[in-house]
Structures are given as structure tokens and as C-alpha cells.
Amino acid sequence: MAEKNLHPDQLYIDGLVQNNSTVIQAIYKKFVPKVKNYIRMNSGDDDEAQDVIQEVLITIYNQAKTKGLQLSCPFDAYFFLLCKRRWLNELKKTSNKEVTLQDENVSIDESVQEMTFQTEVFDEKQSLFDEMFQKLGEKCQEVLKLSFITKTMEEVAAKLNVTYAYVRKKKSLCTGQLTEMIQQSNRYKSLKC
């Protein structure tokens, strides 16, 4: 059903998913200068622009890779709005910076808003998962990390010098613990819809 609204700019999303250097370079060439100008005009510098842009591209990649992302609007508008909103959030956090907002009156297409909203919700969830993972005990973090970067659980057991059964059990309990921490956080409750 969503297929019929697919925008031809989906090729940029697909290129990111495939880690295609030519496509990524094309994104930098075509769409990044506008974002950079915007950030410069709004109390930012090139380093900050570079970070915002990278974070947004990683978010798009994460969403496309794990949830599938079907672009229903031009990439340019979607990408720009994501970067812009991320930068404004950044400014709010460090509110000692003076904010001079430009072009706030431009109306934004509905499909662009919808796409941006989805991506932001996804990102919010992702960063919550990340935050909770960092709060897990060291041992749990290690077991989980190893069990996902190592091919087999047998190898993980060997690396940690424990039995296979132990590492399997530890992995499920640690994942379980992580899910509980996520579930109990206030942010998760507000995200659930």
C-alpha cells in the first residue's frame, strides 16, 4: 500500500542502506550545503554542522536498515527539516547561544512533516535503548556486545572462558534486564503509541 507513494528519491535511502559511497557523496554535494548555510546563519559553525549532518544520516540509515524506510516526499526537504530541527534542539540545550531564526514562515508539506515525525520518533526510541544499554552492568554489556559481534555463542563462551549454557543464559537475562529498564523509563511510556 505504501509502495504507490514511494518517491523517486528513495534511491538516496537505498544508497545509504547499501553504504554506497557514490550516493553518500552525492548527498553531500547536493543537499549538505543548504543545511550548512542554515546552521551558519543560526549561530553555528562548520564543525557543528558536520556533526548534525552525520547524526541525521546515521539516524536515517538506522531506521531504513531496521524498520525499512519508504520515502514519500523529496529527500531534500526531509533531510533539511531533520537537520534543522536537530540543530534547534541542540541550540535549546545550550541556551546561552543566541538564536536568530530564519524562514520560520515557510509552510512545510504534510508528507515531509509526517516522514520527519516518524524518523524523530524512531530516533528517540533508539537513543533511549542506547542510554539504557549504557546503564546496564559492565558484565552484561560485555556479554551482549560479544554475542552480537561474534559469529557463534560457542565462540563467545570460549572468549569469556565460561560454558556455552552459561553464556546463553546470561545473554537472555541481560537482554531481559535491558527490556525492563526500557519499559520502566518515563521516556518509554511517553513514546508508546
Binding site: Q25, A26, Q126, T175, G176
Partner: protein
Amino acid sequence: MNEETYIRFENYLANELSSEEKTLFEEQLQNDEQFNESFTLYKETTQFLEHKFSNETLDFKENLKSISNQHFETLSSSETQEKGKVIAFKPWYYAVAASVVVVMGMWFMMQNDPNYSDYNQHDTALFMERSVGDENLKEAQEAFNAKDYKKAVAAFDKITDFRDPELQLFYAISLIETNNYTKAQLFLDQLREGNSVYKHKATWYLALSYLKQDQKEECKSTLKEIPADAEDFDKAQELLNDLE
């Protein structure tokens, strides 16, 4: 949820339950809402971790970072150059500059025969970032970027898997550079019929191939196929104007 439940979740995801246990598990998923909710989150958390630590994700981040650095570095260096140029400019310089422009303009107008070497500044080949370990690919990339197209073709010849459109394009460019037009066209036509991002780029290179062979009419009609939203549209229009 108790420990037992998480171990069952894990075993179910790893497909290590007996068929009886599996049926039981799936029944519970349907009937027990809380169980279902916990399992959904467990699955989602597993996917999150899997993605977070996958090699693909790490490769992507690294590649992105290097492209981003390239982009921002070349940018800042060109800006410093511009700043460097702002020096006191005496009025009579304008006269000199203006006459230089006039002379150069006239010279350019007389040069109305464009040729291939005006346009053969190719993108840098960067396909090794993704597939580490293939020696031929690495050699092809290095030779290509060093503009040693003969060597690049030799390396490409040894590669068997050409499903990646990026490889097809760079192979085709190397073939044009070494005057191997027919074979280049085979790859370019394949790209032109496909739906990759290189679709229009392939048309542009086909036009350049004709230009290099001095087949101006074919070159012109191929250039006209490039749509206005393609990356090479402006260059194509410029070349068309020069040819007409």
C-alpha cells in the same frame, strides 16, 4: 517477567524450542497480552543490539565519517584560498583584468571544438570501503584513481561478480579511456536499462564515448536523453551547445 521467561524468549528466537514447546509458546503469545508485549520488546531490543553491533553499521559509520571529512576539509581549504585572494586591488588592475577576460573570451569562442579531454575528470573510485579483501578490486580501484586505466582494465577483467552497478560504471569508464568502446557500451547499456543511481551517469559516459570517437551526431542525440534532474544535466547542455 521471570528468568525462565527470558530464556524461553531467547530459545524461541534462536529457533531452539521443540515443536511442542513452540506451539505452546505461540499460543501464549496470542492469549496472554502481557507475555506478548514483553516478547515484542525483547525481540525489538535484540534487533536493536544486533544492528548496533553489526559490522555493516560500523562500516557505514566509518565510511560516512571519511566522506564527511573529505567534504568539509576540501570546503574549508577552498575558503581559505578565497580569503587569501582578498588583497588590495589597485584600480588599474581592473583594466588589465578586463582585457585578459576579453582576450580569453575570444580565445574560447574560437575554440568551438570540444573534445573528450575537456570532460574526463572522473569521480574517485571508492568501492573498496565495502568489500574488504578482494585484491583485484583493490588493484582496480588504485589503478583507476591513479589514472592508470590500462592496469585498471586488467584488474577489472579478473573480477567475476559485476552485479554492483558502481563497478560496472567504473569498468566502463576505464574501457572508454583505453579505447575499448564496444565493451564499454555493453556495460553502459546495461546500466541505462537498469534503475540504479548510475542510470543517467551511464548515458553521460556513453555520450563522452561517442565524443572521444568523434561521432558528433551520436554524441548529441545521447546527450539529449539526459533528463533535467540528472546530476550531469548542466554539463550535458554545455557540451550540446558547444557541439551545435
